[in-house]
Amino acid sequence: MTLVLEQLLNGLQFGVMLFLLAAGLTLIFGIMGVINLAHGSLYMVGAYASAFVAAQTGSVWLALLGGLAAAAIIGMVMELVVLRRLYARDHLDQVLATFALILIFNQSVTLLFGRQPLFVSVPPALNGSVQLLPGLTYPVYRLAIIAVGLLVALGLYLLINRTRIGMLVRAGATHREMVRALGVDIRLLYTAVFGLGALLAGLAGLMAGPILAVQVGMGEQILIMTFVVVVIGGVGSIRGAFFGALIVGLVDTSLRAFMPGLLRQVMAGPEADALGAGLASMGIYLLMAIVLLVRPKGLFPAHV
């Protein structure tokens, strides 16, 4: 039972990480109509920048600021220099151009930091575990990630639904031409939304640092899963991204945790482990295929 609870918490933690990435991606897609494959690179930038600042200064707060600032600034520069030219193009050009950006980012990071993964230590204040229930201890750091993710979700909800900027974002997602016709500087809005998306991706990246190894290619691994989240949730919908992320996080984590064990009851150990790992990896793609076949627009479509 405690094992199940622990895996549920792990799934939740993975889910909120995915949400941070998916929220930015879905906003960017919903509002600007751009498929940004390089979103995962911003996640990597956040992780590397924060690891670098932490190693140089030893300050957790500076590392946090450094990671966020680097991701947001690089994201906005990327929008100004490359993506702005792609809004009117079709998806094919967008996929290719952002694929090229991935190559550039990955190689630049390899040149700057080398191929060795960086290891980041957990901030001392969040080190250790707490006992949640009798027999269930859980790392504080992972709980903090869940808390940050939920807070960001709440903040985004308030920002989108309660503020003027949020109103423009919502209007931009559904009635782009009308917003422009009403005299809103849509280009500024685009850059701002892109910066916000990049900031969230950077936040996810720097929080992932102490849990996973910070290495080149970390962005692509999570990017594909983020796309699954966005498509399951409904492209352009923040609410969809939130629930999609939690579903994908929980399904993926529990399949990975329990699939080999279940298979081991019917077949030999090593084969069960290999097949279980494979089936677990396939799980979320299968989920996405089913969702798309039943509801082609995703669970929470933004444009009704």
Binding site: L96, A100, L103, I104, P296
Partner: protein, 341 residues
């Protein structure tokens, strides 16, 4: 998918110039092994073989992507399935076993290639039938999802090498030819490439090709004049997948190795890059694109280990500033446009 983004198939250029251009290209490709031998660079033959194999894959993808307007981000799946068909048949043959209990193995190219095409076509039929219920970004993502599923399936397939892939001790046999010889294998690939391009040329010019172009430009209009778009799109997708399967089977023979890497999503991206680099919706574009990418990769790798940092900006510039890829660029410069019908 806006239809003006994919350039229309160019109107037929004067038949004579086009024929001369094609003949020159064919002559150059046939003469290539002898020329490189004469200048003492025999290592260029395998390189050219790789270009041809990727050209088959890219040209097949182009049928779905360029002519059919279906942006498939999962064509590496069919490429990999073709490769695994060869690998599994060879392994079954070497072990003198039966695959799935009733399929005997073989090392005959005349059997493995059709088998690879058939299996890839079967998978394309299943994946296409499901994926074509969606369109736009959802189509891109669901094809990617299916390819990822197959990728992880082969990763977990320990009986056939799993993550590490499996080696094929010998290339498949064709009559009494020595397929181990690079030049012989090059000519086998060249003949098949010519065949694939001929078939694609016939398809694009046929009624079927016209309907496909019509669906790409305006699906609703085609439906209104009484043509069911779904069936045509599915047929094009299946043919496209079969071509990619053939390329994968050749690649498995060329490398004498198959691994899940052949199905990785970056491979799908690479195939798309070849198509876009060469020119979406042009017949010979994929050949140009495959040649450009493979040669660029080889040259840059020899120059620096960080070759992708050069490739990235080049790709970016091609996307941002050329419309219609290399063949579009050539046509606008007034060069070689005739050789790209």
């Amino acid at each position: 998918m806006s239809d003006n983004a994919i350039p229309r198939t160019r109107a037929a250029t004067p038949a004579l110039g086009r024929a001369i251009g094609l003949l020159l290209l064919a002559a150059a490709l046939i003469a290539l092994p002898f020329i490189v031998k004469a200048i003492g660079q025999p290592a260029l033959v395998p390189l050219a073989t790789r270009v041809l194999i990727y050209a088959i894959a890219a040209a097949s993808l182009n049928l779905a992507l360029g002519f059919g307007g279906m942006v498939s981000f999962g064509h590496a799946a069919f490429f990999g399935i073709g490769g695994y068909a060869v690998g599994i048949l060879y392994r079954t043959f070497a072990d003198d076993a039966l695959f799935l209990g009733f399929i005997p193995g073989t090392d005959q190219l005349l059997i493995t290639l059709p088998a690879a095409i058939l299996v890839a076509g079967l998978f394309a039929c299943i994946i296409g039938a499901l994926s074509l219920r969606t369109s736009g970004v959802q189509f891109i993502m669901i094809t990617l999802a299916f390819a990822q599923m197959l990728f992880f399936f082969f990763v977990s397939l320990k009986a056939y090498g799993g993550d590490d892939g499996m080696t094929i001790r010998r290339r498949n046999a064709l009559f009494d030819l020595n397929t181990r010889d690079d030049v012989t294998f090059y000519f086998i690939c060249l003949a098949l490439t010519a065949l694939v391009f001929l078939v694609l040329w016939r398809i694009v010019g046929s009624r079927f090709g016209m309907v496909l172009a019509g669906i790409r430009q305006n699906e609703r209009r085609m439906a209104a004049i009484g043509i069911a778009p779904y069936r045509y799109k599915l047929a094009a997708f299946v043919i496209s997948g079969m071509g990619a399967g053939l390329a994968g089977a050749l690649m498995a023979n060329y490398l004498r190795f198959v691994s899940p890497d052949m199905l990785h999503w970056t491979k799908s991206g690479e195939l798309m890059i070849m198509v876009i680099l060469g020119g979406v919706g042009t017949l010979l574009g994929p050949l140009l694109g495959a040649g450009a990418l493979v040669i660029l990769e080889t040259v840059l790798t020899g120059w620096t280990e960080h070759w992708q940092i050069v490739l990235g900006p080049i790709l970016l510039l091609v996307v941002l500033f050329t419309q219609g890829g290399l063949s579009g660029l050539l046509a606008r410069l007034g060069l070689g446009g005739r050789s790209a019908p």
